[in-house]
Symmetry: C2
Subunit: 397 residues, 2 copies
DNA sequence: TTTAGTTTGTTTAGATTGAATACAAACAAG
DNA sequence: CTTGTTTGTATTCAATCTAAACAAACTAAA
């Protein structure tokens, strides 16, 4: 008997089913009525009824009574996204490890942060993650609510090969070639997903923040370096190996400044948080403090520097506008207040360097979501997987 | 009665059906056996039999007898892509108008080229297109073969809004804001599709040329300016309004040279075909002649210029590698022989400016397809639409 | 030549999904 | 209390694809 060849394509039965479609809508809206589902999906009432029942039985949603009032006709019954299905987000950083639990309806059920005095190695970090998650799982199991954990989403400040789950390079953590996904999967016996921090920030802003409703989004996040996330036509730009959207390394000038990767004239080399702190006489301050100082204590020097950085950022933005023709541009991290320092100047720079057609209808926003943005993005990694194949996740006894 | 709200999503019945899947495979392979379809799609033999029968009845494919030999087992029956279903490609350029007819199995059935002594306006061009197509259609109707024309694909050297079919700006043709799709649809009563030339070149190279099999491809085409096409994860990068992939306008230097759109330091301003011609003492020569001159008559001046241009092209390529992490990079037009002038130098520049991870496994190729590449790309616009909904196209009597 | 084994085509009988229809239920406005 | 509107539910029907059984067409080996 010849081994059956693996099909190149997915056939109907395993494709995007209506069950996924409805579950995705419930997750996105947190709460909705059956009739809303009908009109949004175009499915018939009988089909929606059957699908919702299935989802309730699987534990992804809960039936609420009829609640709508003040309208002609029989009130439609409500469906809520589950409060019990959870994703756990894990965020290792230079000086802390943050763990949160996010429910399928978007609420943050749990949050803890462990500070480190000194940077720890990759293997030590995994040990710590396992320990914290194990004890969190134990807590949740004994809780009154019947929680069910669908998986883990790891937020990594560095380059990730999304298909293998290997951290290729995380300069600030000083990790490299570290197979974090497999290590965690092995020790936690749960699905584990790994992604870059900027890409998760973008995902979250698109789902619930500044870029809500947009399908073509470019996101830039300024921390020590500049990370990027790009979604085109609603799907993430990953590239061949998953290293796409390294926007900070884009070269825009012939200058000789080096960025964190030793490359000349790049965005990251020209727009530096350190330089902004230095010109204001600060060091290692929080984003909040830096924002206040930058916007309120304007000196000729700080203005000149901010202008120079805004020009570089504007040229980069114009380049990205020419390349991607995005609907929305989101600036996060310190780029948020660099932008606010002189929005008008920034837009003038863009206008000078982009072709007019791509600027029509393009909007620039700063991030809206705050501290929970990355955790929500990480939870989406887990939830989207569950949404794609809800039948796989049976309700726990 | 309330008007039924338009569904946001497509439900199963209108989604990607197995019929489309099989038709797409037949189109791609030109000829294949039923059993190959089974193993590639994972569909059962009975389903494949039914689907193929449907496609043959619709006229998209023709049954061929069992032909396979020298293997154990009953020979599988063959299916050929139709030789009678046609797409017509239309290519207006500064000094000519080229019309070709491409069959569903990829063969070029007809080709004609009309030269112009002087540039003609957009409306005159449409008049000419209509006239040529009408007479071509009349010819095909009276032919022995029972041809059926599915639609028209227009190749435009300029920016296209793909959703509205309006030519936003075609600098060489001197067209702007020209609703070419609607004008042609109205006068030809056939489906008309319009796309940018570089994007079609990329599509063709991916389907049948240098980038065959790749899903993440960046393509750059050098003519007078530099056009680009990008496909990520198998789908074209279009952006919000369809103006994405304007790669020639990417800024990579702080120099003051202006490109065709009056923007400083862009790729298009630094890598110019005119300059190559000038340094070799040529003017308005064909790509073939320029290639021979450049590669064979190397002078210190031409070498210095080619090196400068290769450096700019390399920096741009590195930028695009960082942004897209493509699997394959395709260089077409005069970039083809600029690359061949000194491949090693080009690769050294890339290595210097790109982060190492994105270069792993990335391949640089020159275009493989020749003169018919754009026509094949344009025919794909038409055929992909037919493949998506084959039942819509009933067989002509 | 015969026989066994392999692969494919064909027929038939389900399984699954979702639409359409009809009817009942729950509401607002007269 | 009636009418009109909207939603939930049950039943029927159509479309799509699988699975299983069997027949057909081939190779290879006895």
């Amino acid at each position: 008997m010849t081994p059956k060849a693996t099909p190149m394509f997915e056939t109907r039965s395993s494709g995007q089913s209506s069950l996924s479609l409805v579950l995705g809508l419930i997750h996105e809206h947190r709460a909705m009525t059956r009739s809303e589902i009908c009109s949004l999906t175009g499915l018939s009432r009988s089909t929606v009824a059957k699908l919702v029942t299935t989802l309730v039985n699987l534990g992804f949603a809960s039936d609420t009574g009829a609640e709508q009032i003040d309208r002609v006709g029989r009130p439609s019954m409500g469906v809520d996204a589950s409060k019990e299905m959870l994703a756990i987000s894990v965020h290792p950083e230079v000086d802390y490890l943050e763990i949160k639990a996010v429910a399928f309806n978007g609420t943050i059920v749990h949050s803890e942060k462990h500070l480190y005095d000194e940077p720890i190695g990759a293997y030590q970090a995994v040990d710590d993650m396992v320990q914290v998650i194990d004890s969190l799982v134990a807590d949740l199991e004994t809780s009154d609510t019947n929680y069910r954990i669908l998986g883990i989403g790891v937020i990594v400040p560095g380059q990730i090969n999304s298909s293998t789950g290997i951290v290729r390079q995380a300069p600030h953590l000083q990790w490299s070639e570290f197979p974090i996904r497999d290590l965690l999967t092995e020790r936690l016996s749960m699905p584990v997903f790994v992604a870059n921090d900027a890409s998760l920030g973008c995902k979250a802003e698109m789902a619930y923040g500044a870029a809500k409703g947009a399908t073509d989004v470019v996101y830039m996040h300024g921390t020590s370096g500049i990370g990027g996330g790009v979604f085109m036509n609603g799907t993430e730009l990953k590239g061949f190996r998953g290293y796409a959207a390294e926007l900070g390394h884009m070269r825009i000038s012939s200058g000789k400044e080096l960025d964190y990767s030793g490359i000349q004239g790049t965005l990251e080399a020209l727009v530096r948080r350190d330089d902004l702190e230095a010109v204001l006489g600060l060091k290692n301050v929080s984003d909040e403090d830096l924002e206040i100082a930058l916007l309120n204590n304007r000196t000729p020097e700080s203005t000149a520097l901010a202008r120079r950085q805004l020009e570089a950022l504007g040229i980069a933005t114009a380049n990205l506008a020419n390349i991607f023709n995005p609907e929305v541009f989101v600036l996060a991290g310190f780029l948020r207040f660099l932008y606010r320092f002189d929005q008008n100047y920034f837009h003038r720079v863009i206008k000078k360097h982009a072709i007019p057609a791509v600027l029509e209808g393009m909007q620039v926003f700063v991030n809206e979501l705050g501290t929970n943005s990355l955790a929500i993005g990480a939870s989406e990694l887990v939830f989207q997987e569950a949404i794609a194949d809800p039948a796989k996740y049976v309700k726990r006894k």
